[in-house]
Subunit: 329 residues, 2 copies
């Protein structure tokens, strides 16, 4: 795999392209915005989305999708809700056998589908892999140590991808479980909202640690239902990403929860934002899927109640604390 | 279980005694220090160890171990390295069938034993239970929400203990796995030192989240070797406590790691301290046990190398980042 295409010129796509170049491969980064393409090619900085990080000189950006035809593997970094449309546009430029590597996180709202399910429809027959883990884009772009799960049903292809992009400061850990590797990245945003509520409400560090732990149990329950494996979700793409996202207010989802916890209404919080925290939508989809499948996801359900059903925060918290005592496992 | 004895008048023993009284039970708190006993009984505050928290008026402290004879269950909150000696002193006051509930965390350094193994020797035949989880004592004492694992081989006794002390703001989750419930509380201190090093060295949030995730894998590996169950260690006593302890510099262990990460030598850090971070010792014991049992605990071994073998921090970090790429599970 000598040439790696990257679809999506946001912060994470740019960071991954930088990783590819540092690994000694050719990177072709497709971005929709002309200003992003120009900024990267001329000034080696993605000013709109990753300001302040100097990019490798070899990183080539383009607004012309046809250039992806040179790629031996393509990283799909478009936002979850746009993945279907962008993959459709890109489909003609996948040469036969070229794998699509999902590097975005989320559940398609309209269908409740995982992104691998979306791509199986839009790019039928293409090998699919997933890269997911605890990754703030700016740290990865700067070369600070990052570890991710790289999941792929074919161990041979997984090994090729690791050889292509692995390096001491970007360590992929291999798995064959592409379902499990997508669950954490989606559900964590809902749990980060819950975590923010705990912090904003002043409920303390004990409560937050307990919430994250019981939240992982919800990730596992939902993920097993979708066909994922426990070990995957306990790893970097699940637990790791959950810890990062619930770690501090850099995450938009946690910031949303904190505002709610401090007493703002959902309307007040949402109207003041230019970009919406992904967990706002995921909460609704998850609650719907959980109800249909009779899954016990009390924390995710509580977040959906608060965000979408006007439930009172205090009543929801009291409800969680007054659940019957039960066994842990 | 109407009367609960508590051995140990430090922050956590006092917080637990407060929980017991709030649950409507009688609490007899034994403390070694006369000033602690006086402060609690007269001023309802444990000024030396839990300053600023007003304690329940019904909380009775004593320096006379014979008063423990009234207890229907005894919470053992003495520090891990003193547990054997204090349990020996207390043994005569356990009425027949009264359970010993381990509420301390750590591994006995001289023997490498878990505290349940220590108590099996010193209190032979007594029922043993474990309470462990993410618990900053001051938060629990103040009545902020706290959730813990309550492990006990007898489900009947576990249910009695839950009925005795459970309440909305102190939620025990039941397990039968007393081994697994002790592992996280011991090993997390070593991982908190590693976590502190990552922060002090400026390696970033991605690296810290990856370290905690891979650290949980080490907890699981060591715990399974000792006979604990995976599910237990993924719960509040394992993952939950790990998240809390690695969450911020309130933990002495993390503070120790941060100082090392910023370039202080082990000698400089240790000489400036009045109380030693438990992980300093646990690292040495764990490294020894892991080598004997041929367990792969790279992070714990690295911490032991830095603390006890004068290894260079940068070389140890480079060694961890340059390990061969491998599968995640």
């Amino acid at each position: 795999l000598k040439t790696i295409g990257i679809i999506g010129g946001g912060a994470w796509g740019t960071a991954l392209a930088n990783v590819v170049v540092r690994a000694g491969r050719r990177a072709v980064l497709w971005a929709r915005e002309g200003e992003v393409v120009a900024a990267i090619n001329e000034f080696h900085e993605n000013k709109p989305f990753l300001p302040g990080v100097r990019l490798e000189a070899g990183l080539h950006a383009t607004a012309d999708m046809a250039e992806l035809e040179a790629a031996d593997a393509i990283l799909m970094v478009a936002p979850a809700q746009h993945m279907r449309a962008i993959a459709l546009l890109a489909a003609p430029y996948f040469r036969p056998g070229v794998p699509a590597v999902i590097c975005a996180k989320g559940i398609e709202q309209t269908t409740g589908s995982l992104l691998s399910e979306v791509l199986a429809e839009v790019l039928p027959g293409k090998p699919i892999a997933v890269i997911s883990g605890p990754t703030f884009a700016d740290e990865t772009a700067k070369g600070l140590p990052t570890a991710v799960t790289l999941a792929c049903p074919s161990e041979g292809l997984a090994a090729q991808l690791v050889a292509a992009i692995g390096q001491p400061t970007f360590r992929p850990y291999i798995s064959t479980d592409i379902i499990g590797a997508q669950i954490g990245g989606a559900v964590k945003n809902v749990l980060a909202i819950a975590s923010g509520i705990v912090v904003g409400r002043g409920l303390g560090e004990n409560a937050k640690a307990a919430l994250i732990t019981r939240g992982l149990a919800e990730i596992l329950r939902f993920g097993r239902y979708k066909g994922g494996q426990t070990e995957t979700m306990m790893g970097l793409s699940g637990l790791g990403d959950l810890i990062l996202t619930c770690g501090g207010p850099q995450s938009r989802n946690m910031a949303l929860g904190m505002a709610l916890g401090r007493g703002k209404s959902v309307d007040e919080v949402m109207s003041g934002r230019t970009s919406v925290a992904e967990g706002f939508y995921t909460a609704e989809v998850l609650a719907r899927l959980a109800t249909e499948a009779k899954l016990d996801l009390p924390i995710c359900q509580a977040v959906a109640q608060v965000l979408h059903k006007d439930a009172s925060l205090d009543q929801v918290i009291e409800g969680l604390l007054n659940r019957p005592f039960t066994s842990e496992a």
